[in-house]
Symmetry: C2
Subunit: 232 residues, 2 copies
């Protein structure tokens, strides 16, 4: 039995609430590999707690003495270090195409969700994180959190539009990776888990294939994702 | 040696100009499989010429007596019928993830290119096709071709935005499918070949990884795609 892998995991004011999409994809990947995991709650401004990693963002994992940062690098590390466990990519072709899913998620899906829920995230953060979060996100999106909140309905419509290729693909097969989930599903589901934990918008009500996949992903790995409460 | 596979291929007024993205992906897939191909120029209104297929759109292929329609179904047919030739999907994981690339192309990339170039396409069609094309496309997009032409600059900006995940993925690896092209590359490249043949917009000038991939795809299969002249 391996010692648990430690995952520094972004936390809300309530340390039990974990919402980071980049951390959730790693948690699902660790579960997929069947690796015992210990999460360590971490907040945006606790830079010194992860200074050993040589940078200031989570996810960070510690596998014994080995430190790995960046979700994609962590997934590749786990695939290489644990080749006999269930595969995250199912071979080189799967890995290459999962890269496109990763880039689509980071350049399209994450910004679409962020525009919608940044105000909700701000409200749930530990007070010591709120100024940092507001300043960095307003600079990134070039507008204030209040501006984002005021345009909520158009951001929700844009998010529904952005989800079209996902819903269409899931109309043909149970998972992005085929008949069983793999890292491509972890990446995309983690974004929707972020939405689910931070806000109450419904984006699957009129998309039955997407809704079915969400249910299966929430149930996967002994209900790991479902155990995190949804926003109310 | 097999008898050539016949491909009904959408043609402009000049029958040598072939621009359909759904036909180009099939031509590239046939070349990838090393299958001799005979293309038959076909125009939008020549419904009776492909009535034998039970529907009214190209691509349609005839492999001996076997008729297959719909680009995705054709790719799956070729993979199954010619398993010993180079693979289009590189296994079940590759096939499932290529489905996402296909749906992204159809729901995001194709509409973004169409909004930009429908007026150009209309101008290059055979006169007998022009009314059909104008009527069906204006109904689909809910505006006139003149309206589309007037908003050209915003459509170009939207297309550049839509290409971001593609450019980002190609910044990490030479092809979407990894170290060599496969059907995922055929699907996406065929959309940019459509743009190249119909109009002169530059979308790769500030995207070196995307530009390098375009060059490699134009050169692939003995320069098959490059042999088709670009719009001037």
């Amino acid at each position: 039995m391996n010692a648990p892998i430690k995952l520094y995991d972004l936390a809300a004011a309530d340390a039990h609430i974990r919402f980071s999409p980049n951390c959730w994809r790693v948690r699902l990947a660790l579960a997929h590999k069947g690796l015992p995991t210990e999460t360590i709650p971490w907040r945006f401004t606790e830079k010194e707690a992860i200074a050993f990693s040589g940078q200031g963002k989570v996810p960070v994992i510690l596998d014994g003495a080995r430190c790995v940062t960046d979700s994609w690098a962590i997934a590749e590390y786990l695939e290489t270090a644990y080749p006999d466990r269930p595969s995250l990519f199912n071979g080189p072709a799967g890995l290459a195409l999962t890269r496109f899913v990763n880039e689509w998620t980071e350049t399209v899906l994450h910004p679409a969700i962020a525009r919608l829920i940044l105000p909700d995230i701000h409200a749930m953060l530990h007070p010591k994180d709120q100024d940092y979060f507001k300043t960095t996100r307003e600079a990134f999106f070039g507008c204030s959190l209040d501006d984002l909140a005021a345009a909520q309905q158009s951001h929700l419509a844009a998010l529904r539009q952005a989800l079209k290729p996902l819903a269409a693909a899931l109309g043909h097969q149970p998972y992005l990776a085929g008949t069983a989930p793999a890292y491509a599903d972890h990446i995309v589901f983690a974004a929707l888990q972020w939405l689910r934990v931070c806000a109450t918008y419904d984006v699957t009500g009129d998309q039955p294939a997407l809704a079915a996949w969400m249910t299966h992903m929430l149930d996967a790995y002994d209900g790991l994702a479902r155990a995190m409460p949804a926003a109310r």
